[in-house]
Point group: D2
Chain length 152, copies 4
């Protein structure tokens, strides 16, 4: 049962803004990308398209605290931790660390809550239980790790 | 003294994702754009570049709750409300309403906290007091409006 | 029969990059958005979703020449001109003018070619004739205007 | 003397649009990112910030031909080839190949022209010679390779 994953990416030029730092909206793209890499690491695409009707995981809540700026070509490690698991939803915590600093420094932390929805033929989306394939593989992180993650 | 502003925009194709809805990161771009329009409405660019050293308003916290999906060509009204005003920071609340629904429907709500920083010649950014030009024009919304905004 | 359209937008903060100017990829988003506004002005969404199978207009060629930089809060007029109309494709020319200059100054010009495709149930996309609703409303601009547009 | 470079990336969810494919503007972000990786492979950041005044490489021309769609989680190889080298400019050719196909398939090809500019203290940008550090390391690809690249 998996409850965490880490990925590293390098800041791209197009992700910066005229203040010379990564635009704050991009941290949400980073979070989602590591969530998807986490799912892939378990052998599942987040698209969950082999289900009928197809399932998706839209976000219902997203937040981020920005501690230090990230700049072009910085290497950032994004650490995802499963904080809550409901029958139809998952909540993750995130920590962003800039690796090209000595020592590496935390630059941001985030939280996402996603719900499982079924995409019906008529175009509607309705909440649906997380599939067994997901609930069998993903579990909530140990309490101490969640607390350490959220507070330190 | 101003404490709120509304702007309307139409969802662009490039803002959607393969789920057929506005990508969740774009709500943060929308929030920022209406914050800037609010500043322009007061005769001030958010860039605050006529100060020496130049001032900026980086985000230290951002969050959004997603209630209903937005789709291509939807018209969305973004309402910004000043919720807190410190000597060096501002917090805003946001409500997103889809206007092309009958009646218009709330689709998301958000919160941003920004701090005033001075961009020094050596490339560093340090917290700085909000300039008088800003504090003279912007005030906190009445408590009832903030409460109505946050909860309804 | 329509062959041109103009729209004005203001440069948003998130569209700039660390060089302090609009990131070059955004000019392609701007082109597409005015193409869609052109279609809307004729009473048609570019999505063309009332057809069965649904039609779309993916890009097969895109180009842009950058003459002068655009910056945050600049007002830019985007002028689209229909340059070619085939049975399954359309080509457009674009001119970008910065309006908050005296006199307004051309900052970029572009070209897009789109083809009509049908989105089949099995997920495939295949070229399809432009629907009559489109070909009845859109025509190629007069030759002199196209030449003036491309060269001046 | 280097004249080419390859990088591989995986399509992210936020890079798709409601048509279910990578939004066409993102191919330009992909091109730029591999250009920067090419520079890094030579020991130079594209920012060239150790020069006084600082140098940059804004784009003056960009184009792309789209042959096949790219979708979420596709692995795409981007191959950059130096096609022209002037005293103040560089032109590159690009080929995009989807690797998770058997055999790998070309999905797009592109071209970029960049000019070297100096960013002066007064905010202006003016064309400047490419620095020796760049011209000593980068050369034009052999003619046969350029021809093969552009046409095949």
């Amino acid at each position: 049962m998996a409850f965490e994953f880490k990925a590293v990416r390098r800041v791209e030029f197009s992700e910066t803004d005229m203040a010379g730092i990564v635009h704050y909206s991009n941290f949400f793209r980073y979070m989602e990308t590591v969530e998807h890499a986490f799912f892939r690491s378990l052998g599942h695409s987040v698209i969950l398209k082999n289900f009928d009707p197809p399932l998706g995981l839209p976000r219902v809540h997203a937040e981020c605290d920005y501690l230090k700026p990230l700049r072009f070509e910085d290497e950032v490690e994004i650490h995802i931790l499963v904080a809550e698991k409901g029958s139809k939803s998952l909540s993750y915590l995130f920590r962003f660390r800039k690796l090209n600093a000595d020592p590496p420094v935390e630059v941001a932390r985030g939280r996402l809550t996603v719900v499982c929805v079924a995409h019906h033929r008529d175009g509607s989306m309705r909440a649906a239980p997380l599939p067994k394939a997901v609930t069998d593989l993903i579990t909530v992180a140990p309490r101490e790790q969640i607390e350490a993650f959220a507070k330190s």
